[in-house]
């Protein structure tokens, strides 16, 4: 599936380039206003690819091994140039952003050592009124950077149009989220959707129309929180092989992405479109970048999901907190998150791992033990 996905993606991007569009890659998780890139007539490329031993190892020429395995692997993709990743050659610009400091460092290395022109987009760490003011500055700055490339102004009506396109697309993903299908199937849809963006909408419609409920009665139902499961990661297989089924992806690839939608009243309020982006940024209280309320917001959100699920299905949910080794954002609070959820009698597994193959066995054992315990 992955090989086909990546090779098709190559042709998709190639076509876009033939239309004169620039490809703008980033690893900034849920913070990038893709609509602005879209409105400029460019294509955002989410770096959502999992790593492996080779990719991680090859990043050690640039960064110490105590860097998040995902960031290591992103660098590895550019230095190793593995098969099926030819589409990375099509990138015109790479966005350096501060989702976390690994994002800054890895993106900077990619731009510097692999000669990809750089764009900048930084955000504050809090959601205070002044942080919003700052966000406006960054939006304005990004707009100018994009306009410089484009050679003309980004019109407000184009941005409005893009916001609507992405909004419909994300709403559709929310529908997928509610389908009764296995976690792996759902995840693959999300991953593909996040590569193709709103162009994937027709396919999403078909998927929804043709979807058949997949029974998973003998599987234990789970929420995945923390770090995303990226394309080509074996983790989702391990979870399912161990008797688990992810019914809710509380991660960047998942709810953090598609829950960032506007209701129609706001969308049609004829607001300046930049204010819409601002509004969305302000509401992204679950984003792992934010301080100082991230932990509280996370606990509240998980509790709510679990309660609603129980109401709807009568079943309990366990939580897998996926921690990519050396992830600043997810790792530091993991013990505290566990404590808080356990106080509420919610089973949780802090699952820390890097992308090495050698980890598989140990991960399986831990997941199995957790699911057994549930």
């Amino acid at each position: 599936m992955t090989v086909e996905l990546l090779s098709n993606y190559y042709y998709y991007l190639k076509e876009k380039k033939a239309e004169g569009k620039k490809i703008i890659a980033h690893m900034a998780h849920d913070n990038i206003p893709e609509e602005l890139i879209d409105a400029a007539g460019f294509v955002p490329l989410n770096m959502i690819f999992a790593g492996n031993d080779e990719l991680m190892n090859s990043s050690h020429d640039y960064l110490p091994p105590s860097t998040c395995s995902f960031a290591q692997s992103c660098i590895g993709l550019f230095s190793e140039k593995p098969n099926n990743f030819d589409f990375l050659e099509l990138i015109d610009y790479f966005m350096v952003s501060n989702h976390c400091v690994s994002d800054i460092c890895a993106s900077e290395i990619i731009t510097k050592y692999f000669s990809i022109p750089r764009l900048n987009f930084y955000i504050s760490y809090t959601l205070s009124e002044n942080a919003l003011e700052y966000y406006k500055l960054e939006l304005h700055d990004l707009k100018q950077q994009l306009e410089k490339i484009k050679g003309s102004e980004i019109k407000e009506e184009n941005l409005n149009e893009s916001i609507k396109r992405y909004n419909n697309f994300k709403k559709k993903l929310l529908e997928v989220n509610n389908l009764e299908i296995k976690g792996k199937t759902k995840l693959e849809i999300f991953q593909k959707a996040m590569l193709y963006g709103p162009d994937f909408l027709p396919e999403l419609d078909t998927i929804i129309q043709n979807s058949q409920p997949q029974r998973s009665n003998n599987l234990k139902e789970l929420i995945l929180t923390g770090c995303s499961i990226f394309i080509n990661d074996y983790l989702i297989d391990l979870i399912e092989e161990s008797g688990g089924n992810i019914v809710f992806f509380d991660t960047w690839i998942g709810d953090n992405y598609f829950s960032q939608i506007f209701d129609d009243a706001i969308l049609n309020s004829k607001e300046n479109p930049y204010n819409l982006l601002l509004y969305r940024y302000r509401n992204n209280v679950g984003g792992d970048h934010m301080v100082p309320e991230y932990l509280e917001n996370k606990v509240t959100k998980l509790e709510k999901i679990i309660q609603n699920y129980r109401k709807k299905t009568g079943k309990p949910l366990g939580v897998i907190n996926h921690i990519i080794k050396f992830c600043d954002h997810i790792s530091i609070n993991s013990a505290f998150l566990k404590e808080k959820l356990q106080e509420k009698k919610i089973p949780i597994l802090n699952l820390e791992r890097d992308y090495s193959r050698a980890n598989r066995g140990q991960l399986s054992t831990r997941i199995e033990a957790f699911i057994e315990m549930m």
Binding site: Y62, Y125, N130, L137, V291, F326, D328, F336
Partner: protein, 450 residues
């Protein structure tokens, strides 16, 4: 045995600073309970606003009770009656008489100070890990969290500045998970200096000042701010003199290991100016005078043949034996993290300026031009200082678990190579854990200068 204690006898100000560092617990208790002063915790040198609002800043490790060498304790008590000046005279006199036991005692004092601080740091590290900080984080974060777990409840508030390091910002958030957490006052520093970011930061500072005023009940007037900034400017000026005038010269007022030791103690004590800015400023002034006086009299060490090595960064944790090892290998070490990151820059205090805005400008310079919002800027700061100090080599401490500063080494090495400045990276996890490896690596590195 310490290689430098002999010199310390005539650096009373250094003894004083070391003493003040270690007796923080009783000093702070007195301030808090008798004088009803409000304590504000800071880490990294972000203590200025708290002082300007009438509070006392404290780097949390100083709330610990340290086992103080009994002689240093005696010196401290003696000083409270006769003053520190007389201590220098007494020690100097005893030393001249060449009482072996006296010399030994002085050596022990200084050894003890350094060991005591390091042991405490390591204890706090263990406590941080026991209390839930994953081992994957840097030494600084683990030990700081431990410090707050141990004593954080004694402060009224923590002053939290966001910086480019995500681990740092998340660690600041995690302080709330500690039992009886203090209030957290946040200062969100805009990541880049674009548009009216300076205005935004100024406004963030005004808000933080309001929160501090609510705690202290003291209005932070422009004059108060200017007065405080003037004092801290003096401190920074003295600090710069020590680094640039004395550190970059070829005649040191002491043996170079002592000199490095002083720089290391300054790095630690500068976080909170030992909780008393005026006293700290006086000590800094005397330290510079003592150094200059010795140089004038030709007391010290000619070290033009000793390669000058910049060791950095050390503020998040480093192996404190490094400068002794380098000294034994024929080199001299400089520690200058705060200068490198722009913390020693002047804050404009002219009457027609807005002091909050000037402070914002100062912090913005640190965050955008020195620490930088990327490694290109940060590595330029290392390079610029290395060139300015005309160093012969640079030793970079790569902290296990540091994903911010440690990650810049490859870029830095490339830049240093272009300038033909040799460098090496030493990995660090915990004080004392890797001394043998450090020795070997430094041995190999120092060979280059033979």
């Amino acid at each position: 045995m310490s290689v430098f204690a002999d010199d310390v006898v005539t650096f009373t100000s250094m003894l004083k600073m070391a003493y003040n560092l270690l007796v923080g617990n009783s000093y702070l208790k007195r301030k808090k309970f008798r004088e009803k002063k409000k304590l504000i915790a800071v880490a990294l040198p972000f203590s200025d606003l708290a002082y300007a609002c009438g509070a006392i800043s404290v780097f949390p490790v100083r709330m610990q009770i340290f086992e103080i060498n009994k002689y240093l304790l005696a010196l401290g008590s003696f000083s409270s009656i006769f003053g520190w000046k007389s201590i220098t005279n007494v020690l100097g006199f005893l030393k001249k008489l060449e009482f072996k036991s006296i010399n030994k005692t002085i050596d022990d004092i200084i050894d003890d100070v350094i060991d005591t601080i390091n042991k405490k740091y390591n204890q706090m590290y263990d406590l941080g890990v026991e209390s839930g900080i994953p081992t994957d984080f840097c030494y600084g974060i683990k030990s700081l969290y431990g410090m707050y777990v141990a004593k954080g409840k004694n402060v009224e508030a923590n002053l939290n500045f966001t910086i480019r390091c995500s681990a740092w910002n998340k660690y600041l958030e995690s302080l709330k998970t500690i039992k009886n957490p203090a209030k957290n006052i946040w200062i969100d520093v805009p990541p880049r200096n674009i548009g009216n970011s300076l205005e935004i930061l100024t406004n963030n500072f005004s808000k933080a000042i309001n929160e501090l005023e609510d705690i202290t009940g003291i209005t932070c007037t422009d004059n108060r701010l200017r007065e405080h900034f003037t004092l801290r400017n003096q401190i920074c000026q003295h600090y710069k003199t020590i680094i640039h005038e004395i550190g970059a010269s070829d005649f040191y007022p002491s043996n170079p290991a002592t000199f490095a030791e002083i720089l290391a103690l300054l790095t630690i004590s500068f976080h909170d100016y030992n909780s008393n800015v005026k006293r700290y400023a006086e000590n800094m002034s005397s330290l510079v005078n003592e150094m200059k006086e010795r140089i004038r009299k030709g007391i010290g060490m000619e070290c033009s043949k000793m390669p000058r090595i910049l060791i950095t960064p050390i503020f998040g944790g480093w192996e404190p034996k490094s400068h002794e090892i380098i000294y034994e290998l024929g080199g001299r070490s400089l520690y200058a993290d705060w200068e490198l990151l722009g913390f020693l820059e002047n804050i404009n205090v002219s009457n027609n300026s807005n002091p909050i805005e000037e402070y914002a400008r100062f912090i913005m310079n640190i965050s955008s031009n020195k620490m930088g919002c990327d490694n290109d800027t940060l590595t330029d700061s290392y390079l610029n200082l290395a060139k300015k100090l005309n160093v012969d080599g640079l030793i970079f401490f790569q902290l296990f678990g540091c994903h911010s500063i440690s990650n810049c080494y490859k870029l830095l090495r490339d830049k240093l190579r272009r300038e033909e400045i040799p460098s090496t990276a030493l990995t660090f996890n915990k004080i004392g854990e890797n001394v043998e490896q450090v020795k070997t690596r430094l041995g190999a590195f120092m060979e280059m200068f033979k």
